[in-house]
């Protein structure tokens, strides 16, 4: 495999490049007493092309959300490098980031807590304008709010209401309206539908895709639901215990997963009958504590294909197919794909 095949390559068309990103948290670092480190994100490298939709999938606790927030620089990464639109944002201060904020936005998982309960919907959606376009006339602002509300399928009459008067799906629309107000180039959607009723999920996903198409933005779509991710994404990255274990185009990944964990995730995806859905049924045991991850391949403790060598070293992401990378030493495995169960 050549050096160029590595996903770390500097790509001028990429809107976001992440290199060796780690996010550790010190736990128990109190006055007196030793600290432990929680490796929420550990040495993650990927890039996101313009207008591309990258799905990020993994169990809860795998570090997806942390990664999402780290690339947006809502938190300061422990190490690594984040380049957004050619600018190194890794060490920027809050003040330095402020002018970049309109171009990168986040959609939250929980539409109940991400909207300020004491602000009207109008105020919430107008907030970006208040912050970044201070000189804007109030009437113009109201117009923009009305447009945004209409764009996400709400009515301008709703601007005077408070978030708690809305359903979950509606709230998520409000959140989306807010995040697209400043026409971002990068949108990170952090489990945008997982808190919603199944019936509403599709609407929101479709709204997101619609917006992506209209605005031509890049989307980092984070979800634990492989089916949703598969529906939305161009490419998918699979995370396990803070690391990306496999990253590939949707078709390639769905047809031929190259990491046992990806296979396990497929097994959890409901087929046609939602009542059969039982997540991670093939995995033994619980997710290991991120405070003390297993040596070598972190997945080996739950992997049906684990061999002693798996414990030796942390497997690197390697090219296993066209634009298909996986971090498993057992390349020979023929894993079941999404279809054949």
């Amino acid at each position: 495999m050549s050096h160029d095949d590595k996903p770390t390559a500097c790509d001028p068309s990429a809107i976001l490049e992440v290199t060796g990103l780690s996010q550790w948290y010190a736990i128990g670092a109190r006055f007196l007493g030793p600290a432990q480190h929680l490796r929420a994100v550990d040495n993650v490298t990927f890039s996101l092309a313009r207008q591309e939709v990258l799905g990020l999938v993994g169990e809860s606790g795998s570090g997806k959300s942390t990664l999402g927030r780290a690339v947006l620089r809502l938190i300061k990464p422990t190490s690594g490098r984040i380049v957004f639109e050619g600018q190194d944002v890794t060490h920027m201060s809050r003040g330095q980031l402020r002018p970049l904020r309109p171009r990168m936005q986040l959609i939250f998982q929980d539409p109940f807590t991400s909207l300020n309960p004491r602000m009207t919907v109008g105020e919430i959606i107008a907030a970006p304008l208040v912050i970044h376009q201070k000189g804007m006339k109030r009437r113009r602002r109201d117009e923009r709010v009305a447009e945004a509300l209409t764009a996400v399928g709400l009515s301008e009459r709703h601007a005077r209401r408070f978030p708690h008067e809305f359903s979950g799906g509606q709230r998520q629309r409000i959140g989306i309206a807010r995040s697209i107000m400043m026409e971002p180039r990068l949108l990170v959607a952090d489990e945008p539908v997982s808190a919603l009723d199944v019936s509403v999920q599709a609407q929101i996903v479709n709204l997101l895709l619609e917006i992506r198409r209209k605005l031509g933005l890049s989307l980092l779509f984070i979800s634990h639901d492989l089916a949703v991710v598969g529906h939305v994404s161009d490419r998918i990255a699979v995370m396990y215990l803070g690391r990306i274990v496999e990253i590939a185009g949707v078709r390639s990944l769905f047809e031929r997963p190259r990491h046992p964990y990806t296979e396990a995730l497929f097994s959890a995806v409901p087929d046609t009958d939602p009542t059969l859905r039982r997540e991670r049924v093939v995995l033994k045991g619980d997710l290991p504590s991120p405070l003390a991850p297993p040596s070598g391949c972190a997945f080996r403790t739950r992997c049906p294909y684990a061999i002693p060598a798996c414990a030796a070293a942390v497997p690197e992401l390697r090219v296993v197919g066209p634009a298909h990378f996986a971090a498993c030493i057992r390349e020979e495995l023929e894993l079941r794909s999404a279809g054949n169960r």
């Binding site: 986040l106 004491r118 912050i131 400043m182 209209k214």
Partner: protein, 304 residues
């Protein structure tokens, strides 16, 4: 641009539902709860009457509260047209009681405004920034809370030239910590909410987040604390005036009327009884209202 998206582009079945939601449902719930709180309503009425009486009352009484009639000292209630009697200088007690109330209530309100604003400021900053700044501020609050209020108040009062503004200030200086604590803990919790992160994501400054986003969520507890602070401030004014460090003559406050009255407890008890009842009534009313507001604005019931 968002304008290029039209409503029809996406399915919006769930969006249609809320067309009929009653307008401003949120605004009325606490108010209804408050209106059903009998003591709070009693308190509100009493405060209204007190304020009205102290503002308008002095004009309705045919005596000037400062006019000394030295030969008519210690007239008992109802004698010579003085419904509450006269004081040690022959001044009409009712007139003095009302103008004193004006001052005591004004001191209470102003001290509340100052202490609530300052406490809120400290609390918001401490709660939002946390870390070293927050810890330093909250330790400062703790340190001041270590003093029994009266001790602190007296130490301050013993060293200033007593006038209304200074008295108000020192009362405020000993009453802001509670608000600061409440606000700090509220803000610290709110700070962890996603909407704070959302604001940060929008590129909002710390000041914007603190005062535009977070503060409005802590307003309920602040209002409750502020109401109770008025009650406290009225009491504190009475305490320091009683101990001789408060409002100076000839201006009357309920506290210094009591201070002057205790000497005549045996011979002219009405001098002590009426101001004492006035203080109790005012303070109780504010406490009732505060209690009612606490129930009505209970954050758990309301925040999304």
């Amino acid at each position: 641009m968002s304008a290029t998206l039209r409503a029809g582009d996406v399915a919006m079945d769930d969006a249609v539902v809320l067309a009929d939601t009653p307008e401003s449902a949120r605004g009325s719930r606490p108010w209804q709860r408050f209106r059903h709180h009998r003591l709070a309503m009693f308190g509100s009425a009493a405060i209204f009457i007190l304020v009205l009486a102290t503002v308008v009352g002095p004009w309705l009484i045919p005596f000037d509260e400062l006019h000394i009639d030295i030969r008519n000292r210690f007239a008992p209630p109802l004698v010579g047209g003085h419904i509450f009697g006269t004081d040690q200088l022959g001044r009409d007690l009712a007139a003095r009681l009302l103008t004193a109330g004006r001052l005591s209530l004004a001191v209470g309100f102003s001290a509340m405004l100052i202490s609530a604003s300052f406490g809120t400021l400290i609390g918001v900053v401490a709660g939002y920034y946390g870390g070293l700044v927050g810890a330093a501020l909250m330790r400062f609050v703790d340190a001041i809370l270590c003093f029994p209020t009266i001790f602190l108040l007296l130490v301050l009062a013993a060293f200033i030239v007593p006038n209304v503004a200074m008295i108000t200030l020192i009362i405020a200086a000993t009453a802001w910590m509670e608000v600061a604590r409440i606000v700090a803990s509220q803000i610290a919790t709110l700070r962890e909410r996603d909407f704070t992160l959302a604001a940060e994501m929008l590129g909002a400054s710390g000041t914007y987040i603190m005062f535009n986003e977070l503060l409005r969520n802590a307003i309920g507890p602040i209002i409750v604390a502020a109401t109770l602070t008025v009650a406290r401030a009225i009491l504190l004014e009475a305490y320091i005036s009683f101990l001789g460090y408060g409002i100076q003559p000839p201006m009357a406050s309920w506290g210094n009327m009591l201070n002057n009255a205790q000497q005549y407890l045996g011979s002219a008890p009405w001098l002590a009884i009426f101001p004492g009842l006035a203080i109790t009534l005012a303070v109780t009313s504010f406490n009732f209202v505060g209690d009612g507001l606490r129930d009505a604005l209970d954050a758990r019931m309301d925040i999304g």
